[in-house]
Symmetry: C2
Subunit: 214 residues, 2 copies
């Protein structure tokens, strides 16, 4: 009698498998969760960049054999694009919450906090842009979805700037893209001199608001 899987649910470190006869079978415990996988994927991607990202490095960090990873992803492009969709989803979910803020001023602070918390997303995006568009179907679909998520992000940020203009808070002659670019880029300034975090963030907010000149 051949078993057919009806449903498969992953949880911390293991898998519930529901067979055709509704009997629960718990298979061998996994050595790493999808969370582990994505977390390490992010670390390796940030440290090594797209070209330097290999399944060997990832497998070593997860303490599994390279072959085990191929059980989940056929190649690094599929993994990285899947990972990036996951990251963008998380980011967008939090970005949507900006609508709960009543006015532009509180939205500005919320956005700044959010970008600080997710400050690696910029660098990750530039890694993803190195994935060849000519890849396989799964990768193509993922990249298309990412383009969609990007557009969604820009639309939301655009409406944030729009509100700022309507409330007369923003200097009106500055292009939208530049205002947003400034906020995004500022977060990436390396704190070489080791100024305490709170102080550093406050100074960045100040400089975005009013510039460097007296």
């Amino acid at each position: 009698m051949v078993a057919r899987i009806a449903r498969k649910e992953e949880y911390a470190g293991a898998c519930r498998i529901y067979l055709y006869n509704e009997v629960i079978v718990i298979a061998r415990e996994r050595k790493f969760t999808t969370d582990d996988l994505f977390r390490e994927t992010g670390h390796v991607l940030l440290a090594q960049g797209y070209e330097g990202f290999t399944f060997s490095i990832l497998a070593e960090r997860l303490q599994v054999s390279r072959g085990a990873l191929y059980k989940y992803y056929d190649n690094k492009d599929e993994l990285i694009s899947d990972f990036m969709i996951h990251e963008m989803d998380r980011f967008l979910a939090e970005l949507r919450e900006i609508d709960n803020c009543p006015d532009f001023e509180s939205r500005f602070r919320y956005l700044l906090d959010l970008i600080f918390k997710r400050r690696t997303i910029h660098q990750l995006i530039s890694s993803v842009q190195q994935i060849p568009r000519s890849g396989n179907a799964k990768v193509k679909a993922n990249l298309a979805r990412l383009d969609q998520l990007h557009l969604d992000m820009y639309a939301r940020l655009g409406s944030f700037v729009g509100q700022g203009r309507r409330e007369g808070k923003l200097r009106s002659h500055l292009p939208d893209g530049l205002v947003l670019g400034f906020i995004f880029q500022s977060i990436m300034i390396p704190n070489h001199s080791g100024i305490p975090y709170e102080e550093w963030v406050a100074a960045i907010e100040d400089i975005i608001r009013h510039g460097i000149m007296a």
Copy 2:
């Protein structure tokens, strides 16, 4: 009789070789100059990043065989670190000219222009930082020299900020590193909306001076 080279002078596409008896011999013309080599090194490094940089790609772009490149550099780390010293030297030579500007205001405009002209240098630096410090002696020496050049750069930029403070032009509570970081990072903002160059630069200068808020 064994020939010994006393001096060797490279010029556009060829090489003058001065032999022990002072007789000039012009060897086979080179297919690429050091300028060509560095220019393409820069392009490939920007397009592919450190890990994606290979002698194969470089050789193809220079229309020579891969073997030819090994006549000049033993491996990519030596080439890239040499190239980066060359870039930093050029940048610093121009940065030193800032002393010819009389006041802070003119220095500010000069620095902005310079960073715009050399806006790739930031990304190149991050590629160079991926070179393993454990490499061979030549690479180690080059990286040490680069650290030196970095310090020189920061010192000069620091004195620029210092003058701004003395002249009372800069908002006094902002940390030096943040002011400089802000100027550097601004240049990297991608102009997605395709705003004309002059307009874009003017808007960036404006936002650096006075921020985004009305």
